[in-house]
Symmetry: C2
Subunit: 338 residues, 2 copies
Amino acid sequence: MPPTPRRSTILEVARLAGASKTSVSRYFGEERDRLSPSLQARIAHAAGTLGYQPNQMARGLKGGRSKLLGMLVADIRNPFSVAITHGVEQACRQYGYSLVVCNTDNDPEQERQHLDLLGAYQVEGLVVNASGSPERQLHTFISQGTPIVLLDREVDHVEAEVVGLDNHLAVDMALEHLADQGYQAVLYVSEAPQQSSTRQKRLARFNHTAGQLGLIHSSSLLANSDGTATLQELSDFLAAHQQHACAVLCGNGTATLTVTRLFQQLDLLLGKVGLMGIDELDWCALISPGITTLAQPTDAMGKTAVQCLMHRIAPHVSSMPAALSFSPTLIERGSTQR
Amino acid sequence: MPPTPRRSTILEVARLAGASKTSVSRYFGEERDRLSPSLQARIAHAAGTLGYQPNQMARGLKGGRSKLLGMLVADIRNPFSVAITHGVEQACRQYGYSLVVCNTDNDPEQERQHLDLLGAYQVEGLVVNASGSPERQLHTFISQGTPIVLLDREVDHVEAEVVGLDNHLAVDMALEHLADQGYQAVLYVSEAPQQSSTRQKRLARFNHTAGQLGLIHSSSLLANSDGTATLQELSDFLAAHQQHACAVLCGNGTATLTVTRLFQQLDLLLGKVGLMGIDELDWCALISPGITTLAQPTDAMGKTAVQCLMHRIAPHVSSMPAALSFSPTLIERGSTQR
DNA sequence: CTGAAAGCGCTTACAG
DNA sequence: CTGAAAGCGCTTACAG
């Protein structure tokens, strides 16, 4: 067997360039300017010849800088999460960091394991879209000086910036739109709030604002993804308020998907019964006459999260973002046109 | 300022346990069994007290095992990619590996950078869903003994397993279904093949099999995402074959999304003009009367890719998967019912 | 069953 | 402007 070609090391580059390891290290680090042009040229040439690339593991070990950010995502198959992840990733690149994305599938046990792991890889910062309540572990990061930013969901007893939608504003905008369009009775459909502060807030705000606007209102939690329980609740709601114009407000994209299926099962006419969802999805424009949504600025949110982290890691390269709470955009379509 | 609490090290655990670093290392490595029960207990206790966790950077540096797999994804916002990534991730966890996912947004330059990076982090294996033709860099990995598996797309001159759909079978199944349903003229809509071997193969097979089946056929490449050019081509196609039953076959999910929009713009009745797509999407059942698709077994594909890698990294823990080429599942809906 | 020591590939005071 | 040397936290022969 031929010997496996290995990656070349700093020592080999140094030898070939007739320089010291120190100089090569400086060349690939922040101190390239300290080297004379001729030294730089020799090193560049040697490194090019050998195809040298610094070993990040070694760098991380010695310098304490892994140049890695970690991200915990509760559900990577949710389009909203994908969009945010995309934004986070872009921003990382921009700052010269790499991102390790860990999907927890909303499972606290996977979340625990992934956090251990992120710690073991010495990530310099963490974007957390929590599944459970990983207080303990997050405190470990914080006490070691690793900055954390919470995405979309708060975590009890963890003091960290929270980047996300202005949930009160979102629900208010939705309800005001529905009221403006003449709907008088609104059913709110949401996944079970569980640990999600966002789901809790939206639900609470729904009850609050719907009351204030004088709307008849009620809510239904999605038990399983086929929404059988909600099917019943929806048809009961419509039956009970036949004399009023009824609408459904969905708490997120998953709810919108399920409810759209229910509308078809019950043969409801979109608009005649209003339908509106928080989160914009690819297909909302396609279900004729279109489903009205509240779009979240996912790219901006992802970038802001990273900016928070960078501000703490390297205050000189990034200022603290001005706002952590974002306004949604109303995308009006036929489903809220009576 | 209080001193920042650091992570504890192997040395601290060793001291507290009254043991050597070697023993602590063995405890956290593969050789725990070599330690006497009492030593194990002392180490376990000490580690627990200090909240010790081995530093993976250091492990990777010395042992050469980063326990990291890398994955290059051409477009993370494509639902098909997300589904595959999910499968890959699950499989990694199962083998005790972590996954660094890099999205290239179909940009060869980003692809280049990400590959450098993955190398710098010493990934032990690589799942590559290529954007461009990163031959050179992939060869570097291969020559260093890092196994590679290609996902969905081949890369010229790179010899590696290719995990993906059986594209010939898929196109044949689609065309046979359309022919069975009585469609006589079929337009194939695809994104521009560019570097994608899959897109090339599907297109070529379309022309081949459509010809064999005696179908009138033609194809249209999506230039921009709004599909203006294709809009024209579609309506021309329909006009030219008014006396025949016409259908459109979409080469992937993106094409299906665009074409569905075009159907609405042209006010075409689904089924009257047939529509079928490769890739199953959330909303295909919702566009009434439903869009017929060919679903890919994404989880199995992701798992298989990882299994290939693991077989090369650690032949004793994983056998070579039996098949690398997968059959799609036909999901019949109203859009192919005349 | 256990440990002392060398060394993985880097960075960073320190010295000149 | 440049380099010799110590050391980051581990693993792994080697020895007993």
